[in-house]
Structure formats: structure tokens, C-alpha cells
Symmetry: C2
């Protein structure tokens, strides 16, 4: 432990600068305008794995962006850890809300991060958290403490649904063979209280298009006489929740895993202040499904949120028009046992069925993924907990997260191994938002904690 600490102390400036260089490349996978940047980022990750000590690295072509594979096999009889991460990032908009440009990383201090945090798109999600693993490998190789084999699989389409990753994993089961999968793409409760994510929500993401008249119309001459696609879209969206904020899609809840009263009581023990939560978001009240509290609504319950909506005149001033078309991007977070492809079908069928005769509706599925729950009595979980306990001084708390990493369920299915979600980010890191950042404390603590996971995983596997 002391050796680890001193190595991190000695090299921390370089660790930070290397991450900053990586963050400068705008690897936005959702927007084809950035495609060369995404590819450049893949190459930068590949080079960093070589330098950190991988014996073999490879740019694996896929139908989409490449997957970077790297490995260091020290003894085939020892366990193998497979590290997964992603080098692509969310789109940075709305740009005007960033206090510094999203791809010009700067270190600023905040109340939560008195030691400073790196502000940039991808700082936490997931370049910063992924790069902790690269630097932890370097540390173990340089200090000759790597206790097992390690494989890296770093993809570039996580923010758009990991379609190529699924394709890749199905075709490379032997290459990716492992004893445990390690991912840092989640958060923890606070810098004083580590936690391990044991559940994730699934996702179904669709885009809808409502078409009314065949052209934009004058709202005076036609207003009141034809279906206005925007009004209709609003009405259709509104009807997807009832007065108790239950989702109204027939069959939507059929497979939802209901938690027992005991499990809900256990969940309620996690530290949570509703007042602080509301203050942090500057909202007068929370809002959600009747019968559940905030920490249940955002973890064990499925949701339906509009992520974007547009149609008609959105420029300056006023235009009296009835638009021909209106659009929305809608995502549903799913909980264990809900099948994302089935939910996408249920949505499509229902949404199409509720359209009045004056409009036509098109539903285009974007992507999706299954929810996931991991048991806390596994060797992987115990090794992670021991590592956190050693570096933070307190044991980690298991938590269910509302987010989705759709490929975790895929890994279990295709590679037959469990995933451990060792996250070092904080809820306040503003991932997917303007001013995303990642604490220097968290980044370095991650690099310290990861080698201890390897150590305890090998010890407990004996």
C-alpha cells in the first residue's frame, strides 16, 4: 500500500497531464462530424496501453468505431481480469452553459473538490475513469506487483448504444475469456463514503416523428381545422403517464421485478437528504411515481423521459405556423427482468395506436440494453470492497444505480463472468451535462485502489 501511494505521489502530475491530453480530443460518437476525432482517440488509447505495459495491443475493426484491445498475460494458470471502458463521450451541448470550453480541459477547485477537478467533456464519463486502469497497470508493471493476467477492451460507441461491442464480444469469446470484468463507469456516494454499484437499469431509446399536413401551414387559415403535429405529439407524450406517474404503455410493468419490503427497508438506510437533493438542483419539489421515494424512483423503478423535442418555428420572434412535422427523442430506463427489445416493441405499438387519424407516426428505435443486478457475495465484490476499505478507511456500501451500461448484461450472457462496477465519480460531476468534471482526488484514489482489487481478487481466488 505504501509503495502504491508513493508511486502515485511521484507521478501524479504526469498522470493528470496525460489525461488532459486525452480529453482534448472531441470523441463525440453521436455526431458524425467528429468521426476522425473518435478514431484519433482510439489510437491514443492504444498507444497508452502499450506504454503502460501491455505485451500486445490491437485496433480491432468493427462495423462502427474500432475497439482497442490490449493484454498482458503473465501466467495462463493465474486468474484474468478483463477491464472494460469507453473512449467516446457525450455531445457537449448546450455549449453556452459551459464555463470553460468542453474540449479545453482546465483544473478548477469546487466545494466538493478542494484539491481541484478537471473540467472537460468525458473527464469522468469515461475517459478519466477508464484511464485510471491504464495508469494502475503501469504502476503494477513498474513496481513488479501485477499478480495476474489482464486484458483491456476499450470501445468508442458506449454513448450511442455499443452496437459494435456486442458484435465484437459475440465473435471473440475466446480472446476475451476472463475470471472477472472490471468497469469504472459509475459513481460512489461521496469522497468519504465509497460505494459499489450492484444494479443498473436497462434502456430503450427511440425517436418519434409525427406528421400532419404535407407542408407547413398558416395557423390562421388552418388553425383549429387540422391536427397540429406539435399539439398532437404533446398530447401523445402526456398520455404516456397517468395521474400517479405510472407509465400507461400496456404490458410495460408486466416483468418488472418488485422488491420486497425488506429490500426496500435496506435501501432506505443509504444516507440521503431530500433537502440537499432539492437544493442542489434548485427545485421546489421532487416529482415521480406515486408510492415510491426518490432513491427508489431513480433506481428500482422504470421510467420514461423525453430527452429532446423539436418542431415548428424555434427562432427569434414569432411565426404563426402549423408545422408539418414534430419530433421527440424518448428513452425508457428499465429494471431487471424487463426485456429492452420487448419494451421497444410495446412502446412502438402503443405510440402508433394512440395517434389520431389526422396524423401519421413513425417510431425509430435507437438502441437499448438490459438491466443488471450483481450479487454481493461474489469474490469480485469482496475484493473490491477490501480494496476500497483499505484506501478510504471505511467499507463500501452496495447501491443500485439508475443509469444504464447496457453491455454488462451482454458480458454475463456471452462471457459467463460477473462484472464489478468500481466507480470513483460523484453525482455532482455533471456527466452528460455542461461543466462535466472529475476530482483529482477521485482520479488518484482510483489509481491507488485498482491494484488492491487485483491483489485481493487473486488472493481470494486461491
Amino acid at each position: 500500500m505504501e509503495n502504491i501511494k508513493s508511486y502515485v505521489q511521484q507521478h501524479k502530475d504526469r498522470f493528470i497531464n496525460e489525461l488532459i491530453e486525452l480529453l482534448k480530443i472531441p470523441s463525440v460518437s453521436a455526431d458524425t462530424a467528429y468521426s476522425q476525432d473518435v478514431i484519433d482517440t482510439a489510437e491514443a488509447v492504444k498507444e497508452s496501453l502499450s506504454k503502460a505495459g501491455c505485451d500486445y495491443v490491437e485496433t480491432c475493426d468493427t462495423p462502427g468505431y474500432p475497439i482497442i484491445y490490449g493484454e498482458k498475460i503473465i501466467d495462463p494458470n493465474l486468474p484474468t481480469v478483463l477491464v472494460y471502458g469507453h473512449y467516446d463521450v457525450q455531445p457537449p451541448d448546450p455549449l453556452e452553459l459551459w464555463t470553460s470550453p468542453p474540449f479545453e480541459p482546465v483544473i478548477k477547485t469546487t466545494d466538493i473538490h478542494p484539491e481541484g477537478a478537471i473540467f472537460a467533456r468525458g473527464a469522468c464519463d469515461d475517459k478519466g475513469q477508464m484511464y485510471m486502469h491504464v495508469k494502475a497497470l503501469e504502476l503494477m508493471v513498474q513496481s513488479n506487483t501485477l499478480p495476474c493476467n489482464v486484458k483491456f477492451m476499450i470501445e468508442g460507441e458506449e454513448e450511442v448504444g455499443s452496437a459494435s461491442l456486442a458484435w465484437f464480444v459475440e465473435r471473440n469469446q475466446e480472446k476475451l475469456k476472463n475470471d472477472v470484468i472490471l468497469i469504472s463507469d459509475t459513481g460512489m456516494i461521496s469522497n468519504q463514503q465509497p460505494s459499489i454499484t450492484t444494479g443498473l437499469r436497462g434502456l430503450s431509446y427511440v425517436e418519434v416523428e409525427v406528421t400532419g399536413p404535407n407542408r407547413d401551414l398558416h395557423s390562421g387559415l388552418y388553425g383549429g381545422a387540422v391536427a397540429n403535429p406539435i399539439n398532437i405529439l404533446a398530447k401523445m407524450i402526456a398520455s404516456l403517464h397517468d395521474e400517479n406517474n405510472h407509465i400507461t404503455i400496456p404490458g410495460f410493468y408486466d416483468k418488472v421485478q418488485e422488491l420486497s419490503a425488506e429490500e426496500r427497508a435496506e435501501m432506505a438506510k443509504a444516507p440521503f437528504s431530500l433537502e440537499k437533493y432539492k437544493n442542489a438542483l434548485n427545485i421546489a419539489d421532487v416529482y415521480g411515481e406515486k408510492g415510491y421515494v426518490t432513491n427508489e424512483r431513480n433506481s428500482i423503478r422504470p421510467t420514461l423521459d423525453v430527452n429532446g423535442i423539436w418542431g415548428g418555428y424555434t427562432g427569434e420572434g414569432a411565426k404563426t405556423v402549423i408545422a408539418s412535422k414534430a419530433y421527440a427523442k424518448i428513452s425508457m430506463r428499465l429494471v431487471p427482468n424487463q426485456e429492452w427489445e420487448e419494451i421497444t416493441e410495446l412502446f412502438t405499438k402503443h405510440f402508433t395506436s394512440i395517434a389520431p387519424a389526422g396524423v401519421t407516426v413513425k417510431v425509430t428505435p435507437h438502441h437499448g440494453g438490459q438491466g443488471y443486478v450483481t450479487p454481493i457475495d461474489s469474490i469480485g465484490y469482496q475484493a473490491a470492497n477490501k480494496a476500497y476499505t483499505e484506501t478510504f478507511g471505511v467499507p463500501a456500501i452496495p447501491v443500485r444505480s439508475g443509469g444504464s451500461i447496457p453491455i454488462v448484461a451482454l458480458f454475463e450472457k456471452e462471457l459467463k463472468s460477473k462484472t464489478i462496477l468500481m466507480g470513483f465519480g460523484l453525482d455532482s460531476d455533471a456527466i452528460h451535462s455542461p461543466n462535466e468534471h472529475f476530482g483529482i482526488f477521485n482520479y488518484l484514489k482510483g489509481i491507488e485502489t485498482i491494484p488492491l482489487f487485483y491483489k485481493y481478487f487473486v488472493e481470494l481466488s486461491k
Copy 2:
């Protein structure tokens, strides 16, 4: 009549070319990016009035865009016609739906316009229709047939609510004194069947902003636990109509003038084919208030339409975000006796009241105007009808329009005179839409008909 026809025939190419030059200037009043173009258009209109024969022309400064005033007073004892028109145009977007650029006018033939139509933003609304009056003046001056005094008041803010015009009219009642106001900013039934608009709807136009959390949030971590501004906005908009498509704002219908069964029966006599209407818009069915037919829904009944909506991620691909803010532009068309300022207040009060605790709502009124009905037994209406009868061979039909020219009610209040709406456009001219156009037939027919209005108005006034 023969003299008029021969003058139009002799000069028609020049008339068309002059209008095309005017249409090339993108005078979009709603977008400040075009402000110099709007001012340039004003100057072009001023010059055209001088050339056509006005004795006095003036660029009148206002708090907004200038108003062009022109006059030719031949004898203070003769009646005076005040011509109103506007030189500003609607924004041209969506640009991709134009088959030729909106500010590069071209003449193309269509089924309805075998003699050709000028395609350009503003071709019909209102540069083309306004310019007919300028050319009619030229004709009367050149042929020495102007039978009375004429004043022109051409403004540049009609498409954004005519705020400066109201300011100007209130301050210039003596200058604008007249016996009848003549406007061509409406349509007629067809090129075989002229009509005169006897009713207009009023307008209340507002912009709404719904704010939830103080920043964009990750829809996985927060989804289901906080009010999503887009979902809430959709729900609030949907609630503004009930299941019969009545508007639910308390007090909204209190002052609505209900028509008698006889008046509705009279309206039903206007030629109308629901099949053709649906086919022209490519819709399976019409949609509107229960208890009223299409031609009532778009004329004698008030409406509420969303003209634009936006919020969240609207780019390519998928982004799992809960937006901090969502916006909509909403307009209400009003019928006689509804007070637009009162309706704006009722809307604001109601819309604010239905917001849940998790969001805040801001309502910004854009502009508005009163509805209007003109009697068909006035000298002005009769003169117009005689003019149409002479040039088209059939009498004009009086119709109530769903559109709004908010200043017509203002004129009556401030200038104490009636407005005659002599429109030469067609519903199919796509005003406010891509590919706006104005028939060459309609343009030249307007120039022929207007001098006859002057002639009969003076004769009937004796």
C-alpha cells in the same frame, strides 16, 4: 375598363420585374440578422411610391422598423382612400423544403397557375399584394383617371405584431384621415370566384419557458425522480384542450360571439369539398372542435396552436439527458368580442397555475390583436364588389377568414373608418410556408381591379 386592361398588358413585364426585384431583399422582421434588409426594403418601397406618382413620400421613424408614408392629394373635397400594406415577410425556414431559394424569385407554372406564378417568400404575403396598389396608382396617374385622394401606409412589422404601427397610428390621426381603408393581405376563393373577407380572427401569441433542475441531468441517474421539463411542458400543452378539443383555459369562451343557426347555414353555402381539402394536405382526416365543421373551425371559432417547441438534445443520434429547460411558442386565434389582452392574461394565469411544484414557468407575451367583422352594406364593400364583378364577370362572395390582421380593429378604433379587405391570393399560395408563390394572373388582375374600386367608391360616395 379597356384602357386599364391595355395599360396592364403594355406594362406587365415591367410590373413583374419590379416585384421580383423587391422580393430579392430578405426583409424578415422576426430575425434581427436581417435588419438591414428590412430597412433597405422600406427605402425601395418609398422610391416606388415616388415613381408611381405620390406627391409626397416620407420614411417615418418608429420605435421599430420605419413606416413608409406616401400621398397624392388631388382635391381636399374629394374622398380619400388609405392603402395599408406591409413590406416585411415571414422567416423562410425550413429552407430545405423550398424547391428554389426563397429570395431568388422565379416564375414557374402550376396546375392552378397555368400562366405562371412568382415563387419567393413574400410573393403573396404581402409584397406582391401591396405592390399591386403601387402599380394601380401608377396606372391611374399615367392615364389621368385617379378620381380621389390616396394615402399609403406601408409598415415593416406586420409579421411580428405591428407594435410600431399602433404607436404610429395613435400619433398621426390627422395625417392618416381617410374615408376608407383598403388592404390586400387576404385571399379569395379561386381565380374564377372572387371573394371579400368580411371577418378576421384576433390573435394572442405567447412564448412559454418551463424550467426544472438548474442544469441538464443524466436521465439514468435522475430519471423518474425529478420533473422533466419537456414531459411537463407536453402535459401542460395537452391539458389546454379537452377530449372534445374545447380549450380549457377558464374564461376563454366567455365573450365569444356565437353565430345563429341562420348565419351558420349561410356560411355552409360557400363551395367546399372536404375530400379535396384532405387530399390537398395529404391527411386522412380533419381534426378540431366537436360540434363545428371545418369551415367554422377555421373562421368563427377560437383556436390554440403550438407554433414551435424545443428542448433537450435535438441533434443526430441519442443523448440520455433531462433538459433543464423546455420552450414553446403558442398562438391563440380569437373571434369577435374576445379581447386579446384579456386572453393573454387568462392564458398566463392558467398556464402558470397548472405547473407542478418541480418546475417554474415563465410566459412572455409576443403580440396580439383583435378580431374584426365588417358589414356588407357599406359603400366600401359595395364598391369592391362592383370592381370584382367587372373584372371577374361574377360577384364576390363575402367570407370570414381564420387569419388575423390585428391592426384592422385598431384602424377602426383610432381612425374611425372601415377597412375593405380586397385579397387576390389563394389558399394554395403557401404563405408562411416553403414555396410561397403568387399567380401572375392574380397580380395583374389585382392591378386591374383596384382602379375600379376607386372609381365606384367615389361614385357611390357622391
